[in-house]
Amino acid sequence: MLRYVLQRLVSLCLSLLVASAVIFLALEIVPGDPAAYMLGLNAQEDTLAALRDELGLNGTALQRYGSWLSGMLHGDFGISYTYRTPVAEMIGDRLWVSLPLALFALGLSCLIAFPAALWAASRRGTLGELGVMGMTQLGIAIPNFWFAMLMVLIFAVNLRWFPAGGFAGWEEGLFAGLKSLTLPAVALALPQASILTRVMRSALLDTLGEDFIRTARAKGLTRGQALRRHALRNAMIPVLTIIGLQFSFLLAGAIIIENVFFLPGLGRLVFQAISARDLIVVESVVMLLVFAVILVNFTVDLAYAWVDPRLRGRR
């Protein structure tokens, strides 16, 4: 097991290295000079040169890549071109919004999906199942930013139960923080929950068709007991995969929702950074997100091994 973990860690590092090169190269060809952006219409050429020098934009590509990479290994992501603050700090701040939001949305998604999927799977062919499945179809088909807009109108502007957006900050207390994340989390969770429900239901139904469920029923287990004791854990493998994918998606994919709710999260940071040509921020955030995805996949792999004894011995 230890060997397996170590092996995975080495390949994880290799993937990260490749990813960092890809990201750096991609951003090398981005047109637009950050210095020109910062100084605006009336800037003079010597002013621009001075600023470029200060930003360290004058070295060769290889030098810049090297210093970026080695800095990152020390936890130093460089200084933002536009904000002029350490990128690591900025990311740290934003992470305090994005990570709780992703977890909140994921939690909601699981909280909705698990009971719904169990319910639908155990009532195959009933109107109730049809209803749940219909809801999930709608949940997948609704563009979530549109749904978010409607929710803001109803719950923030009209009913005023939740703030229309922004983030109160954790220093205002857990409740205030969660309150400002509720609507975004719901908007994010809706399609995710729908997908998860469908995946889990079909995984459950597939498992219910397996021979060992028949064996369990022959032992005298009721349909429900067989579902809970035998099908559920077996169905968790595809479900875990989806949960892993969703978490990484939520961490990075909240850009649009963060814009709708003007949340100071990672997605909006990178969106702004791209339009401001703050490349060092873009590079670092994308790198971090890639790292997160790879880490999540790694964790999911370990979770598989935890769920499935067949994977424990192998490799």
Binding site: S15, V18, A19, V22, A26, L27, I29, V30, P31, Q137, L138, I140, A141, I142, P143, F145, W146, M149, L150, L153, V157, S248, F249, L251, A252, G253, I255, I256, N259, G267, V270, F271, I274, S275, V282, V286, L289, V290, V293, I294, N297
Partner: protein, 271 residues
Amino acid sequence: MRRNLILGTGLSAMFAGAALLSFFWVPFDIGALDIANKIKPPSGAHWLGTDHFGRDILSMIMVGGRTSIAVALVAVGIGMGLGVPLGLAAAVQRGGWLDEGIMRANDLIFAFPSLLIAIMITAVFGASAVNAIIAIGIFNIPVFARLTRGAALGLWTRDFVLAARVAGKGAVRISCEHILPNLVNLLIVQGTIQFSLGILAEAGLSYVGLGAQPPVPSWGRMLADSQTMISFAPHMALSPGLAILLTVLGLNLMGDGLRDLLDPRLQRGQR
């Protein structure tokens, strides 16, 4: 369960048909702005009302559907066109260097947050429908590559492939004659789903201004344009929102229906 298929096909065909029709006829010319008549609620002349430039929303939905559908369709085409051959090639020798290479590259693409990369691509090459297609298409490649590889690996263990090898056929010929035709069902179903995801992705990109550019309308851009007016002109946001919702819903239902219809397990004589 043909109900899904009929309903889904009906919905999708309705929107696709309207989009096709718009090549020949639309109720009103959307190129001519009529600022004096802006933001009018639905009426006899304008069934879905007019937008902030006084254009007929029904006509906009019809023409906008062209963009949304074309972007999604071509993106799926890119995904299939590149992903399927890659998946087939990877499956020829499980665990071989080609397989490893293709699958690692896939993992790498999967590790990048898709929306972010789409935004970066449009930032690099400029916002346009073509770049939106590329951005969405890139992420379709690993989806199809993975799907194809997985299913093809299963098929390669089947005896009829062995029979073809006994008949002296090479990997390319077997992939084309025996593997690919048996993947068609699967690809159609996945294609439908990716198509619907493509429409959602296009809407999202256009919403943040990175999709189709004016004067070409698209559903996502209509939503973005109508956003600030939703409170006093809900008809402007409802029509494109519902167009997206119903098309995606239709495609998903169609995908489900096709899956049931084409599922080999349900086909007689094929276990």
